[in-house]
């Protein structure tokens, strides 16, 4: 899948006669996802992650831009054609209790995708529902239940089952573990990794938890105020972050190891995330960037390849050394754990 120059602006009405302002939720985003990989997307809230996910699934219409799925641009296609592509994509949302119809049994929830896509044979539907339940680690006894009778972790398993029951190629996961407890989170992460391996799925994994993203992703893209600011192979991004915003995120992540606390921590974080209405000109990060130079205030940096498939959108990407901010996190990621 390739996304090219994707934009989504939402109007915000200020008054009856005034011209609307625009929230640039996703602004000129271009990237590729390769078959069988996981592309992680991180960013603060409001940076446009969910909007991007909805655009990719064509749940909302982009303002401009192209989305190539297997070579076809699915932005222009007819409603009927779109259904064909829907079959090959699935989505899992953050809050499992909100993403399941409270008045539909688990069995019905899982049957719907099959029926919608023309699989009517009762025996086959039943077999596939049982099969998928087993794949996501739920028993037959859950079929007749309703969402409120399941725990958060079980609900998320159902949501995952619904997303993969049609054997899609691509699954978009929008913060699938962030509303779950730590112990349940690990269960779901294991499940996702196993399913990807067994079914050869491609994932777009959205999260604001850096540790989780690193764990599941092959490559990671960082978003800031609707823009892609850095994209690189997962471990590379962690030990060799080039964009000051990426380094800011890494330096702010709480690290579950008391031995590395206070090492050059927090010092990169300044200011609050600004509003996506009328974002700052030039580099959008410049009001919060400790390395900003005059050029940053006027000229918008573009994504540039700095080698090895590592792209950065920063005027000073090549000259800055940000390793001191990221070393703490890298240390904990690579070093030993409880045995």
């Amino acid at each position: 899948m390739t996304v090219e120059g994707l934009r989504k602006y939402f109007p915000v009405k200020k008054g009856f006669f005034k011209k609307p302002d625009w929230i640039r939720a996703v602004d000129d985003v271009t990237f590729q996802v390769f078959k069988g990989e996981t592309l992680g997307i991180v960013g603060e809230s409001g940076s446009g992650k969910t909007t991007l996910a909805k655009l990719i699934l064509r749940l909302i219409d982009p303002t401009t831009g192209k989305i190539y799925f297997d070579g076809t641009d699915i932005v222009g296609v007819s409603k009927k054609e779109l259904r064909k592509y829907r079959r090959r994509m699935g989505i899992v949302f953050q809050d499992p209790s909100a993403s399941l119809n409270p008045r539909m049994s688990i069995e019905e929830t899982l049957r719907r995708p099959l029926i919608v896509h023309g699989i009517k044979d009762r025996e086959e539907v039943r077999r596939r529902v049982l099969d998928i339940l087993q794949k996501v680690g739920l028993g037959k006894e859950h079929m007749k239940k309703y969402p409120h009778q399941l725990s958060g972790g079980q609900q998320q398993r159902v949501a995952i089952a619904r997303a993969i029951i049609l054997n899609p190629d691509l699954v978009v996961l929008d913060e699938p573990t962030s509303s779950l407890d730590v112990s349940i989170q690990a269960q779901i992460l294991n499940l996702l990794v196993k399913l990807q391996h067994d079914l050869n799925l491609t994932y777009i994994f959205i999260s604001h938890d850096l540790l989780t993203v690193r764990y599941v992703s092959d490559r990671i893209a960082v978003m800031y105020l609707g823009k892609l600011v850095e994209i690189a192979e997962a471990d590379e991004l962690f030990y060799n972050a080039k964009h000051p915003y990426t380094a800011t995120l890494l330096s702010a992540a709480p690290i579950p190891n008391p031995e590395v606390r206070y090492v050059k921590r927090f010092s990169l974080v300044r200011g609050e995330p600004p509003s996506p209405i009328n974002p700052p000109p030039g580099c959008r990060f410049h009001p919060r960037c400790p390395y900003a130079i005059s050029r940053c205030r006027t000229k918008e940096p573009v994504l540039k390849d700095v080698g090895g498939g590592h792209y950065v959108a920063c005027h000073r990407a090549e000259e800055l050394d940000l390793s001191e901010y990221t070393s703490g996190l890298w240390k904990i990621i690579t070093e030993s754990r409880v045995s």
Partner: protein, 321 residues
């Protein structure tokens, strides 16, 4: 160590619901010392918020503190009449909640709300209280305190609201600050700033803090001692370095092992099987036994007491003995 500032002894808080008796906090004991940051960590529903609300006696209906003592500087708060307790809240012990939007009043400016507690507790006159409020808003590092003081909560960002909340809570210089998931609803960068702010203020004003969280990262970053809660009980308690270096309780160990760190990408993670029990009918004996890989016969029948396994490190598990 010196005398504790706060001593919680065998505290029990239950909710009487139509589905049954929810034993949200069921026999919890710990101490908080002066200048200390004490963390309570655990999964959702294990009773952390109920514990904090019990300490300031604000457990909502149908909850009730059914037993135990909460000794604050020598007095048992549970024996005080409500009028006395009101003097303690805000002035001696203050609390910061998870969702600042619900705890700030939408119809008053934040300046007014920050000025309010000193008026109540010290009879401060309105004008000097307002001046102090503006000062405090600067103190929690909001830009343009004069302007911000006149803002209503809904125009502020989540981070700003939480800063206002902190300003309000420290306005009477409490000696103990209870913070229930103060950063759960904000972004990592804002979280880092808020934590930094809280820690600085705490150091400056020599406050003690009880920080409630489900995030082991936060625990490791800021606290001195940590208590791990499971199903209404403390299962492990000790100095933070000690607990992280040498977790003893199988639940603590499980939680630390299942974090996606120190692993290769996509490598199988350790999992704690099953899910937390409901607190209406918690499992008998050790409450963790249905999920514990080391469970023995004894664990199913008798409840393990919290015992010292190393100096200041307490664990409620039969395994070590």
């Amino acid at each position: 160590m010196t005398d504790p500032l706060l001593r919680v002894v065998d505290l029990k808080t239950y909710y009487r619901t139509s589905a049954g008796l929810v034993r949200a906090v069921d026999g919890v004991s710990f101490e908080v010392y002066k200048d200390e940051t004490f963390c309570v960590v655990g999964e959702s529903g294990c009773g952390k918020s109920t514990l904090a609300l019990s300490i300031i006696r604000l457990v909502p209906y149908p909850g009730e503190i059914v037993g135990g003592k909460i000794i604050y500087r020598g007095t048992d708060l549970l024996k005080l009449p409500e009028s006395e307790m009101r003097k303690i809240r805000g002035k001696e012990i203050a609390m910061i909640f998870q969702n600042p939007m619900n705890s700030l009043n939408p119809v008053f400016t934040i300046g007014f709300q920050i000025a309010e507690p000193p008026v109540i507790h010290f009879n401060m006159d309105g004008r000097s209280a307002w001046r102090r409020a503006v000062e405090l808003i600067g103190k929690v590092r909001m830009p343009d305190p004069e302007v911000r003081a006149r803002n209503y909560p809904h125009v502020l960002s989540g981070g700003m609201r939480q800063r206002s909340m902190i300003a309000m809570m420290i306005s009477c210089e409490p000696k103990l600050l209870l913070a229930d998931e103060p950063t759960t609803s904000v972004d990592v960068t804002v979280q880092a700033q808020l934590l930094n702010l809280l820690m600085n203020i705490k150091r400056e004003r020599r406050m003690s803090m009880v920080l409630i969280t489900h995030n082991f990262g936060l625990v490791a970053e800021v606290c001195n001692r940590v208590a791990v809660m499971y199903a209404g009980k403390i299962v492990e308690l000790g100095p933070v370095r000690e607990v992280f270096r040498n977790p003893v309780h199988p639940y603590t160990r499980g939680l630390m092992k299942c974090l996606p760190i120190g692993t290769k990408r996509k490598e199988q993670l350790y999992v704690i099987p099953g899910q937390p029990p409901n607190l209406i009918e918690p499992p008998p004996g050790c409450r963790f036994h249905p999920r514990c890989p080391h469970a023995m016969e004894k664990c199913k029948k008798e409840e393990p007491p919290l015992t010292e396994v190393e100096p200041n490190h307490y664990v409620a598990c039969y395994l070590r003995r």
